[in-house]
């Protein structure tokens, strides 16, 4: 199939990552982080999602093979 799956996956997780980082930044120090043992998990995990999204997206944009 002509659609390289790495692109939608990469974009999807990139967007989710940005949302989580943004949400984590705006809510830093909030009471709800008692749940995640005092860690601002949104900020950290959002960054992980951004890295994963880029790892999917960049090779897909560089290659012309369509994910083969």
């Amino acid at each position: 199939m002509g659609l390289d799956l790495r692109k939608p996956i990469g974009i999807f997780f990139l967007v989710l990552g940005v949302i989580l980082v943004g949400h984590g930044f705006l809510t830093r120090g909030a009471e709800m982080y008692a749940k995640s043992l005092g860690i601002n998990i949104n900020l950290i995990w959002g960054a992980v999602l951004i890295v994963f999204g880029l790892l999917m997206l960049i090779p897909a944009l560089l290659s012309k093979g369509g994910g083969e």
């Binding site: 199939m1 002509g2 659609l3 799956l5 939608p8 996956i9 974009i11 999807f12 997780f13 967007v15 989710l16 949302i19 989580l20 949400h23 984590g24 809510t27 909030a30 709800m32 982080y33 749940k35 995640s36 043992l37 860690i39 998990i41 949104n42 995990w45 959002g46 992980v48 999602l49 994963f52 369509g66 994910g67 083969e68």
Partner: protein, 667 residues
């Protein structure tokens, strides 16, 4: 869909959560992306083959992840974490013994026939190898089964959304189905496969932080093993088990099972585990179930098709960390003082208590403490159903509540209420949700819940795409309207997709209203599945196997399952849906052991009868007919320019080696 766990329509009873706008945003983005993938694929959907079989064009890493993900439905996620709490690390056998060898076998030995024969489905292979009877039997049972599986999953999804988020059941069911319908209708099998890969990454990235936080909370892996040693010796403290086990029962994969059925909480002996699960059930599922094999058949070439199960085996080996460990963490949290956690109890609505207490009191007049007979339980079950309604699920606990009825004479209402709550069993299906609620702040909660919803929806998509292919090629084209144009079949593929979704919705309502009837249906499918691998094994590796032998062997194997189930029972169950409806010949220590032994018997009968009848009947297919379908009559595949270390046999051996090492580490 997993065919290994005992039939159980999940009753989710979780506390409500409040989602923030950010959580809804994540959910909506997911829906937008899967629909967008469907629309992006639309322009590639030209022929019926593009729509139903992806035109055999997908790279191996995609089919590989989809192969594994098609089995990683939401009920599997919920069920595996439940088993993690109930049985500990031995649950990993469903992933190691119960999957890896079968996946390697499929890749090395069977894929060349499935892919090389150009069959478009597993039933079509059966027709090429045997005859129309075997195909008809397999395709009809498979088609019905997929619709039921998808209905069960959608019922669980809508029930979950209703109880967790307070959404309307009907609305949730129809909207989620509509989303699946849109993207499957646009992108066909490719859409389903792509969203399965997306779902896989969602599960990994959504659950990993929860497992991390859970481990950190209890104090790391060493704290897990230390606490589980205590749990093993006092499982009754958390209502996990009535018995007492050795200290390693929850933390060792093999030694408690080698010790015998009484030494492990699964109640399974080593033969049932290795032969029943590891050989019969596992090979029967991974090597013959069209739902998963279809993913490998969609690969772009033979090498990719054979690599599909091998690629799938890698994440499959590691996934217990994400799906089983959370259950073990839940048991650890429940054991630790001061963590303020207990495994979720099946919740009884406050409004049901007066009626419930009334029933117990009226029942207590008729019996004394010494005589809780099956008849008493049956009558209590009926009265509970009348008083609290079938859908509440309370009648299910009649065996646990019956002793209470006996003592209800002496207890007043205030004392009965906590006693009732104690008698009601743990709701293991709520384990994973309880952890999400415990550790996820808004934001992460949206990600984790979306991962769960994604696996429900892609489960439906997977079932529907397998269903529409079998219907169009194996039933419609074969028996109803042969020799039509490809446009006609492409149209039929789309039309039956709509029908398949509507049937799934109907099944979801059926499951909601007739939970028991649904359990019976699942039971019957289990009967059909158990002997199936014997037919394939003989068909693929023995050219003398005849169509008559295969057909009669399969029927006899299925009948054996039903009779075996009708004559056996597990400890603590009552005759009926759980077995022994023909009489009681043997009692197994657990439902799982009963299930594994049933498969073993069905397989053996099917194997022996197929072989015997084949010898007694004339072959209808010559050696030339069977070329490419039977091992000894097919020239060996020679792949040029392939380094030896990339050969499926070599890769498969490496994977098996890693699997053995994992088993030794957690011995």
């Amino acid at each position: 869909m997993t065919s290994f766990l005992p039939a159980n329509c999940a009753l989710f009873l979780a506390n409500a959560v409040n989602l923030a706008p950010v959580d809804y945003a994540i959910l909506l983005i997911y829906v937008f992306v899967v629909v967008a993938i469907g629309f992006a694929l639309k322009r590639y959907m030209k022929s019926s083959a593009d729509f139903l079989t992806s035109g055999r064009s997908i790279p191996a890493w995609v089919t590989g992840l989809a192969f594994m993900s098609a089995n990683l439905g939401a009920l599997e996620l919920v069920g595996m974490s439940a088993c993690g709490a109930q049985y500990g690390i031995a649950t990993c056998h469903f992933y190691w013994v119960g999957a890896i060898p079968a996946m390697v076998f499929l890749a090395v030995f069977m894929m060349p026939f499935y892919y090389g024969s150009k069959a478009r489905s597993v039933p079509e292979y059966l027709k090429m190898r045997f005859d129309e009877r075997v195909r008809g039997f397999n395709s009809i049972t498979f088609a019905v089964m997929t619709v039921f599986a998808s209905g069960i999953s959608m019922n669980a999804l809508a029930g979950l959304l209703h109880q967790l988020l307070g959404w309307n059941y009907d609305l949730s069911l129809w909207i989620c189905s509509a989303v699946v319908l849109v993207y499957v209708l646009k992108g066909g099998l490719t859409s389903a496969i792509y969203t399965e890969v997306l779902q896989f990454f969602m599960i990994v990235l959504g659950f990993a932080p929860v497992v991390y936080l859970g481990l950190k909370d209890v104090g790391g892996w060493s704290a897990v093993t230390r606490n589980l040693a205590q749990v093993s010796q006092h499982p009754a403290a958390q209502n996990l088990n009535d018995k007492v086990f050795g200290a390693d029962a929850w933390t060792s994969a093999w030694s408690p099972i080698i010790g015998g059925a009484a030494e492990n909480p699964m109640g399974v002996d080593i033969f049932a585990m290795v032969f029943g699960l590891g050989f019969v059930l596992s090979f029967g599922y991974w090597c013959t179930n069209f739902l998963v094999v279809q993913r490998a058949m969609a690969a772009k070439n033979m090498t990719s098709a054979r690599n599909t199960p091998l690629i799938a085996a890698v994440p499959k080996m590691i996934l217990p960390v994400l799906v089983i460990l959370p259950g073990m963490i839940a048991a650890v949290l429940g054991n630790m003082q001061g963590k303020n956690y207990s495994i979720p109890k099946t919740e009884i609505p406050e409004a049901s208590y007066p009626a419930l207490i009334q029933v117990l009191k009226s029942e207590s007049a008729n019996l004394d403490a010494a005589a809780v007979t099956p008849e008493v339980i049956k009558s209590l079950e009926k009265k509970l159903t009348d008083a609290t309604g079938k859908s509440s699920g309370i009648s299910f606990f009649a065996p646990k509540l019956a002793p209470l009825a006996a003592s209800a004479k002496t207890l007043d209402d205030a004392a009965l209420k906590p006693a009732i709550q104690d008698a009601v069993t743990n709701d293991y299906n709520g384990v994973i949700l309880s952890l999400l609620q415990r550790y996820c702040p808004t934001g992460l909660l949206g990600l984790a819940l979306t991962a769960l919803l994604a696996s429900f929806m892609s489960g439906m998509a997977g079932n529907v795409t397998a269903f529409n292919t079998v219907w169009t090629y194996d039933l419609y084209q074969a028996y109803i309207a042969p020799n039509k144009s490809d446009e006609h079949y492409a149209w039929m593929g789309r039309a039956i997709t709509v029908v398949g979704i509507l049937l799934s919705i109907a099944c979801a309502y059926f499951a909601r209203n007739f939970n028991n009837a649904m359990n019976i249906c699942q039971l019957v499918f289990g009967f059909v599945n158990a002997p199936l691998f014997a037919t394939f094994l003989l068909g693929m590796f023995w050219k003398r196997t005849t169509g008559t032998g295969a057909f009669l062997g399969l029927l006899a194997g299925t009948a054996t399952s039903a009779i075996f189930h009708g004559l056996t029972l597990s400890v603590g169950s009552n005759p009926g849906v759980k077995g022994a409806y023909l009489g009681l010949a043997h009692t197994f220590p657990s439902e799982m052991a009963q299930n594994f032994w049933l498969a073993t018997f069905a397989f053996s009968v099917c194997f022996l009868l197929t072989a015997g009848i084949s010898l007694a009947t004339q072959r209808t297919k010559s050696d030339a007919d069977l070329k490419g379908l039977v091992y000894s009559l097919t020239p060996k595949l020679v792949v040029e320019n392939q380094p030896f270390y990339l050969k499926p046999a070599v890769l498969g051996s490496v994977l098996l080696g890693i699997c053995v090492i994992l088993n030794i580490i957690f011995w």
